[in-house]
């Protein structure tokens, strides 16, 4: 290092490794809290958005017992397995009602533990002719048309394109793996109506289905509906609930609202926590840095007796601050990324909230921003402390004994 300000600042820091490490940790907290706080909050938000997309229907109609016996929300939102059936004639009956825009049936089945997965997976069948929720999602990762006995697997499943899985003794072929949504939908398997009917039949043949007397050709599990223009969701919902017996029409928004609510709460807590950590780290950093510099008042006075100008003394202090700040902020960002990427699945399952990390570009941008803000805060601190020591008269500073 050529310039004395830098080399002296560097030596001052490296000769006090303990104090310097503490300052670095504090400035690391500054960038870490911003980065991790922002990423968690935004991941939760985009998780919710993608959940809303995937459940992109206004109304879900299910057999009445799905509400009472199986916990519907657990199956649809939490990724628990479960299935229920109703007669397929409900589809025609409801399709004929007023105010129905898009309408499509889905079929549920849960596997026993199979090759890909140590736990049973939820298998969801859809009608490619009418489906409007799953198909757009599949199209993002698979351009072709699903053939019979083809399946598409959620991103979290340990199965890959080309694999053959066996459900109830029937082989199916993995045609595509879906994009991550950060929700429980990532642990399910999707297939067309024909295929799931065969699988339901296989489960019946093996006497492994909890329903003994269903005819796969005549049952469906739920009906998804988007209301037509000119109708409100409320009207259509009430109409179905009044006129169609033994089924329950549920507003999907209200299913998600529980998640949205707790997500709001968790986001706020994390936001407040991050802000508190930031503020605390900042205050302690200011104090610690001021103490570190003030403890060396006499050294700076000695520099002035040797001929260092006020500016040079300030600059040495600021350089120390900048070095600490850059080193700390960089490690904070690095640590943040190291923590959040591998642990995003853990966070998802621990919070049981949808969690979808933003794209790598966005993460890079947020990292840069967190780094920038942290360095700025550190620089401002050292600027204030540095100018103060520069302004003091050397004749007054020099009295403190070391």
């Amino acid at each position: 290092m050529k310039k004395i300000t830098e080399s002296l600042a560097y030596k001052n820091l490296s000769k006090r490794p303990g104090k310097t490490a503490a300052l670095i940790v504090l400035s690391a907290c500054l960038s870490f809290s911003i980065l991790v706080g922002t990423l968690i909050v935004s991941s939760l938000k985009s998780g919710l958005a993608s959940l809303q997309d995937r459940l992109g229907a206004d109304i879900m109609v299910v057999p009445y017992e799905a509400i009472t016996k199986s916990n519907l929300e657990n199956i649809v939102l939490q990724g628990n397995t479960g299935y229920f059936y109703m007669d397929s004639s409900y589809l025609d009956k409801i399709a004929a009602m007023d105010g129905i825009g898009e309408i499509s049936a889905q079929f549920y089945l849960a596997s026993t533990s199979s090759g890909c997965c140590s736990v049973p997976v939820q298998i969801i069948g859809f009608d490619p002719e009418t489906d409007f929720t799953i198909t757009p999602w599949i199209r993002k990762s698979y351009g072709g048309k699903l053939q019979n006995m083809d399946i598409v697997v959620g991103n979290d499943l340990n199965a890959f394109v080309g694999d053959t899985l066996t459900f109830y003794g029937t082989d199916v072929h993995v045609a595509a793996k879906l994009e991550k949504t950060g929700t429980s939908l990532d642990t399910a398997v999707y297939t067309n109506e024909e295929t799931i009917k065969k699988l339901i039949q296989s489960s019946l043949d093996k006497k492994l289905n909890t329903f003994e007397d269903v005819n796969p050709d005549h049952v469906i599990s739920n009906i998804l509906i988007n209301v037509a223009d000119g109708y409100t969701v409320e009207e259509v919902l009430n109409d179905i609930n009044i006129h169609v017996r033994k089924v329950e029409a549920v507003r999907t928004k209200s299913m998600i609202s529980g998640i949205a609510g707790s997500l709001q709460g968790v986001s706020e807590i994390i936001g407040i926590l991050a802000a508190a950590v930031w503020l605390l780290a900042f205050v302690i950093l200011v104090i610690a840095f001021a103490i570190s510099v003030n403890g060396r008042r006499k050294e700076f006075a000695v520099l002035r007796t040797i001929g260092a100008s006020r500016k040079k003394v300030s600059r040495i202090v600021m350089t120390e601050g900048l070095m600490v700040s850059v080193a700390g902020s960089l490690s904070g960002v690095a640590l943040g990324i190291l923590v959040i990427i591998p642990f995003s699945n853990l966070i998802e399952s621990q919070l049981s909230l949808p969690f979808l990390l933003p794209a790598i570009g966005v993460i890079a941008f947020v990292s840069l921003l967190s780094f920038g803000v942290a360095v700025l805060a550190g620089t401002a601190t050292s600027y204030v402390v540095g100018s103060k020591i520069g302004k003091a008269d050397a004749g007054n500073l020099i009295k403190q004994d070391m």
């Binding site: 004395i4 030596k11 006499k298 040797i306 001929g307 006020r310 020099i398 070391m402």
Partner: protein, 234 residues
Amino acid sequence: MTLRAENISRQFTRETKNTNIFTAVHSVDFALREGALTVITGRSGSGKSTFMNMLSGLLVPTEGKIYFGEEELYALSDEKLSKLRNEHFGFVPQGQSGISSLTVWENVLLPYTLFGDNQSGKEYAEKLLSLMDIADLKNVYPTELSGGELRRMSIARALIRRPQIVFADEPTGDLDDENTAIVLKLFKQIAKEGVSVLLVTHENEAKMYADVAYRMSGGVLQQEKEVYNTEQKY
């Protein structure tokens, strides 16, 4: 070049009986004799350090002016005043004054390296270190030194640029008799070589070496003795 003070005073805000203003140095007129060892003695708190700090460009007087040759010290920009201190003044501060992150060697050469000169002074530094009897401690850090060794280091640092004026505030404070004699003789020697030395102390022993002696009491400076020819004394 001469160093002169015209009617300088320094006040501090401090609780006293009647006012909050405390006057540490009272209207002092002073001229530092060139090529001589001037000693100021006085009790603790009499204003010696305050006076010396003002003369050496480290503390702005509340009143009065200080001239180094034709330059009025405190009319200079901080940049210029600092450069002047670096080139023409050597300062031995009261108490310990090592830069703790630098070795003895780096401390002594700091007046050069502070302005980007990493070449000059090395030979003279070697000489000063052996003169101060700390040549073996070149690569040691100040925390590992005794009080006396530190003091000798800061004397070497003050002399490294061969300044015209050397200010020394209690330079023999932590030294044993032998080292005190070495240091005082050294100051005497460089004074003979043309350097103006101003030495402040509360030990009367230093007066024996003085060409000019003053006494500071209660912020007032009084001349005590003037010795024009001290050769025969040693």
